[in-house]
Symmetry: C2
Subunit: 370 residues, 2 copies
């Protein structure tokens, strides 16, 4: 599978839900596979908090592939020998699309002058990119977690754009426990003196990391796992070289959190992180409507919802609620809901593709549930 990477610049303004705008912006993207003649084989992949347009395949020399490489590729569930896959980096993030550390018109990074974005804003920029490739309609949009919020947003706000929407491990509006986990990282970043109240040198962060973001990310990891996955991954195993009676002796679960926490900020911009968790926190598919039903009533695409039984960040009941409301408003025939049995936790949508890959295949081929 060949990776095509590019960045598209838009020199017209992007008007945002907040009433602010970006006077110009860039969207980084990757594509895999070939667009067919009637442009009917397009699949858009939307990414989660820490993701990027690098959804699949290996960059030269990399040991790790894109985040959904087990799902997307030649002969994989999203088969790049059949489909033309487009993955963008969300605006607001730090992987090539315009974000808080991009240069504003005065040639200096936006930093806090960057506007708060909503999922709708991200989707709008993303759709502009897709349209700019000459694509007016797509076969499917698929994404997990924050990517699922984007998929849902397409379904509601652009009802004619996609034949099919497949959100995984997500919600129609962010609940207080998810906001609480995000609060830990917000405060941890802001309190870190190396954050310098947002006026850090990004080279310093890339080199030294940022402990506040690391600690906040550790809290995040708790929400990405589950009691069962932690039990089976770590149990009460102790780090061999550490002493049980040393104050800072560590259990294996602690080493895991240290490793994943402290490595993360070398590759992720802290201001982007703050802006993204804000976007997640304020996500509400019902915003501007009296109730969620009114928003869901706009949907015309096939909507296939997949949740994971062990997800403690976006609980299965949150997706069940969408299905129930679709049924209630008479849109039930457009909508399927399935809970995948998994003890892994939220990250199952990334890790346990073997449990739902065949379902994605069936959805894309139009014979899911038949």
């Amino acid at each position: 599978m060949k990776i095509f990477t590019s960045v598209k610049r838009f020199n017209e303004p992007l008007h945002l839900e907040s009433g602010r705008m970006l006077s110009s912006y860039e969207v980084a993207y990757e594509t895999y596979g070939e667009l067919n003649n009637d442009k009917s084989n397009v699949i858009v992949v939307t990414h989660a908090l820490s993701g990027s347009c690098h959804a699949a395949g290996y960059y030269d020399g990399d040991r790790k592939p894109g985040y959904w490489d087990n799902l997307i590729g030649d002969g994989k569930p999203i088969d790049t020998q059949k489909y033309f896959v487009i993955a963008t980096s969300n605006i607001g993030s730090c992987f090539g699309s315009t974000g808080p550390m991009s240069l504003a018109e005065d040639g200096k990074p936006y930093r806090f002058r960057f506007p708060v974005l909503t999922i709708s804003d991200i989707v709008k920029a993303q759709k502009n990119l897709i349209n700019s490739l000459g694509i007016k309609k797509v076969k499917a949009i698929i994404g997990g977690s924050m990517g699922g919020m984007q998929a849902l947003c397409y379904a509601i706000e652009y009802p004619d754009f996609a034949n099919m929407i497949i959100p995984l491990a997500t919600t129609a509006y962010t609940r207080p426990w998810a906001i609480a986990f995000n609060k830990v990282v917000i405060e941890a970043i802001r309190n870190d003196p190396d954050f310098k109240d947002g006026y850090y040198n990004p080279k310093d962060i890339a080199k030294n990391g940022l402990k506040g973001l690391a600690v906040g990310r550790m809290a995040g990891h708790i929400s990405y796992l589950s009691k069962d996955s932690m039990q089976s991954k770590f149990g009460r195993s102790y780090v061999e070289q550490d002493g049980l009676y040393e104050l800072f002796g560590r259990f294996q679960v602690e080493r895991y959190l240290e490793y994943n926490g402290y490595n993360f900020p070398h590759n992720f911009d802290p201001l982007s992180y703050l802006y993204i968790v804000k976007t997640i926190n304020i996500f509400n598919a019902a915003r501007g409507k009296d109730k969620l039903e009114d928003a869901l009533g706009h949907i015309k695409s096939k909507l296939h919802l997949l949740s994971f039984s062990g997800d403690i960040l976006f609980y299965p009941c949150e997706m069940q609620e969408i299905k129930d409301l679709m049924d209630k408003i008479g849109n039930g025939d457009l909508c399927s809901y399935e809970m995948i049995d998994s003890s892994y936790g939220h990250d199952a949508f990334l890790v346990e593709v073997d449990k739902f890959g065949d379902k994605i295949v069936a959805m894309l081929e139009g014979n899911y549930g038949k």
Copy 2:
């Protein structure tokens, strides 16, 4: 109800499970009610992470009473007109008993020279205090969370000491998810420059707080609540004066975490916090035995286990396991287990006394389950 407060000094060494010792130590304690003539009305109350010997009643001028004031007092479930209640401050903590900021023999605070303590060590010091009051046997020992670990430890290690043991919202060994939550606070404290690698001036912390401990405590609060209690307490309510599109605009759940997080370190020593979470992390009632059954086989007291259905820190299944093993080894008649229906989360053992107070009364009167 009158509060009697005192501190008892022990000038003999306390030998610790780690192989280290405290050459002398102090235990602060409170008592409520009167010891009867045959000393048969003693109830020992053991406290949780952030608790102290101040279990009930008001200090002069205080607006808030002791942490279990809804459970303990004249005419309350643990009726101080009937019972003589003893509550100690755990060694290792920062409320009058010997802890890491106490002065070592050289007249300087121990700080990191303080030994890592186990639940057994804490219980040993506590039992020495009780014995020093001329009490050789008690009617009941009751405690929740880390207090429940102590209660369980009494049952196993001092089988003839208490007629009855009542652990609430606890576990026989700390699981990785609880260790993970504790990891966030450990790293947040250590990374805070104001912690000064443990060589802070405690007056500065009392005055200024410690942001690292505050952030870690926020993560802790997530584990003390539940999705349902967060939903009903906060939902998606927003702080009125804050803007939805302000980067640092806050939901009510965020304000709650800020309030509880940032206030906490003014009244809690960070080194104590590190030592206590270490004690919790390494708690394992089966240590030194081949398996938990072997430890539970020592029990001779009546053991009444209470869990809370919404507890995500110490899940009900953890206490169910104790009951199952007690049954398995033929000790089932000594042991009851009941899960209290509560959506509050872990802190239900403190907050929802109305749901289990009558059960405590029945246990103490010997007619629980009859």
